[in-house]
């Protein structure tokens, strides 16, 4: 995707965005700390309530709901964001990116590598960003079609249901093992980490807490399975709306050779999509509903994204760049359509999203 912006314009874009970032960094302080601790307190409250309500069969459904919210908050607004280093400036060992673990079977160390480094550095670069299809799906026309992809919707559905396990196994890079680029033996170290983390999570949710409810063992197991499932479905949908709705752009390895900071910013803006919604919705999405702001500044505390969003949008307009945003239903709809369409061969171009202008058109107009 050749850009319509000149290197000078890209430098200017980088300066403007750097200035936004610096202003937020200079302002970080007690308010941001108080915010994340309020979220943590709420998450722990939901968790304790969810575990406790399992003892009260009539309130079982409330318990499942509370535990689901607890897991969603833990993974998204807390875990994902803490592991990005958004709160490292606090120097609080409890919220340090390198030390934090989340309520999820994926070991945080592997997540930091595949997500923070691979995905956030090489965002939407084919063959570099393994989040394009996660090695099992065809999510971009430039991925060569083969008959395996006829199952695209089935694989996507399975990934949604077992999302935390899919995230955990992401680093095994199955597709590279199948292609002979990687041996099973090479994954030994990370498999051991997965085993240690997975066992602890499984024992907690499916053995210890159910056993503590005695005769209610089975309903408690069922409740915990559902809470994990709710979190899986929610996280999958939010995350798939980050880079796959129509209008988002992918790049090739050649395009990022000797990439400038400005081009990196440009790529983050074109490759990401936002979701509109209420304040509560933004918190439950871990503010990944501000995917564009998050990809520009992954290490700024997420509560700052809604604050800077109007400015980012204005910068996009100034440079003639799309600011891809829409309701959850619209973004999910366009992702589902893409999953089905790409199950079949062909390079039919998707409908551009109404709220965005494709850079191709911009390039033609320039």
């Amino acid at each position: 995707m050749p850009t319509h912006l000149s290197p000078l314009q890209l430098d200017e874009l980088a300066r403007e965005l750097d200035a936004v970032r610096q202003r937020v960094v200079d302002d970080l302080g007690e308010e941001d700390r108080a915010y994340i601790y309020r979220v943590i307190k709420a998450q722990r409250g939901f968790e304790v309530a969810g575990r406790a309500l399992m003892y009260l069969p009539p309130a079982w459904i409330l318990g499942v709901g509370a535990l689901s919210i607890s897991k969603i908050l833990d993974n998204m607004e807390i875990g994902h964001n803490v592991m990005h280093g958004q709160y490292d400036w606090m120097r609080d060992p409890a919220l340090n990116s390198k030390m934090f673990e989340w309520d999820n079977v994926c070991p945080s160390e592997q997540w930091r590598y595949s997500h923070n480094y691979r995905h956030h550095t090489y965002t939407n670069v084919l063959d570099e960003d393994r989040d394009i299809g996660y090695g099992i799906l065809r999510m971009d026309e430039s991925q060569k079609w083969n008959p395996y992809y006829l199952g695209n919707p089935v694989y996507a559905f399975a990934l949604m249901v077992f999302f935390e396990w899919g995230v955990m196994m992401h680093d095994l890079e199955f597709e590279r093992i199948v292609a002979g680029e990687r041996t099973w033996g090479e994954t030994r170290g990370i498999r051991r980490q997965m085993w240690h983390k997975g066992v602890k999570q499984v024992v907690k949710d499916y053995v210890l807490f159910p056993a503590l409810t005695g005769p209610l063992f089975v309903p408690t197991v069922a409740g915990n399975v559902i809470a994990n499932l709710v979190r899986n479905v929610w996280a999958y949908n939010i995350i798939f709306c980050g880079h796959f709705p129509s209008g988002t752009v992918t790049f090739s390895r050649e395009e990022i050779q000797n990439e400038s900071r400005g081009h990196w910013y440009y790529r983050q803006m074109l490759g990401s999509a936002n979701i509109t919604g209420s304040k509560l919705f933004h918190i439950l999405s871990g503010n990944l509903s501000h995917q564009i702001e998050h990809h520009l500044f992954p290490d700024l505390p997420a509560r700052r994204y809604p604050q800077i969003a109007p400015e980012i949008r204005a910068i996009c307009e100034k440079y003639g760049l799309p600011y891809n945003t829409g309701r959850l239903s619209k973004q999910v709809g366009s992702v589902v359509a893409k999953i089905f369409r790409l199950a079949l061969p062909g390079r039919t171009s998707p409908e551009p999203a109404p709220s965005s202008v494709s850079p191709r058109e911009l390039a033609a107009a320039a």
Binding site: G29, A34, I40, R91
Partner: protein
Amino acid sequence: MTAASKRFSPLGLAEALATPHAVDRYLELIHPMLTVRELRAAVIDVRRSPSSVTLTLRPTRQWRGFAAGQFVRVSVRIDGRLHTRCYSPAGSDRATGIELTIRAHDGGLVSQYLYANARPGMTIGLSAAEGTFVLPAPRPSRVLLISGGSGITPVMSMLRTLCDEGYAGEVAFLHYARDEGPYLDELRALAVRPNVTVRVRHPARHGYFGVAHLRAVAPWFADAETFVCGPPALMAAVREVVGSERLHTEEFTLGGSARGDAGGAITFTRSGVTADNSGATLLEQAEAAGLTPEHGCRMGICFSCVQVKTAGCTRNVRTGETDSDPDHEIQLCISVPVGDVALDI
């Protein structure tokens, strides 16, 4: 399998249930002093003098005590950020609370904050006591204690401990102070004991440390174990007179020697920042470049600031040793670059 399945313990079960978070991450939301693993302390008493603040701390039950002369790391939160500094308790190591006297020095972020904001009920982070600046056991028959300014705290702890123990040997205490510090009255009171001699010297009136000052309080100094804590110049002067063999020192500040030569460039690889080497310590230069590396004491004690130097040569300003090994862990606060250096921060 999990800890709980190996051998049952209530804490092991609680930890298996709380996984992946620590049990303390739940308990602290009920009360900050409620912890099962983490050591913390509550401030129970605050006394202020014109230049310093004296805190009495009640530690959580994880506290294992300290030996007179050791230091602890104290962490306080200022504008959302945790800051850690090392302080030596000044009280007897037999006392129940931990007494810290902190001089509010100019530009001292933590000391100024505590001077202005410490109040009973405040919770602070605390580490187990560390350090080898301690009285030998069994006690020597003669002990010479020398301090300058805020360096009084570890040696004050030694004197109070010796008095509490009913130590029968001879003790001399020589302290240099520019103004009336918080312990001078108590020092004079302790001097009524037959085996304790105390002299407080004011440099403006009595001049700096010299052998005459020493002879006046401890003519037997050649046979004594000597403990000194204060500015580098005082420690150097004492070393010159008493030698190194029976001398124990504790450094409070780096003094003026913490600079290397400017020249070359420092590359902070993870942050993608490069800066000209100004000759200051790597911690100071990283901060000057806008980075916020983790650190604590800023004097080479606590190892909070250890990071990997990927390439180049650095010099340790405390020992003078140079280190040219690639991918070597160094302490940023006491390392200066020698030419080009690359750090993984």
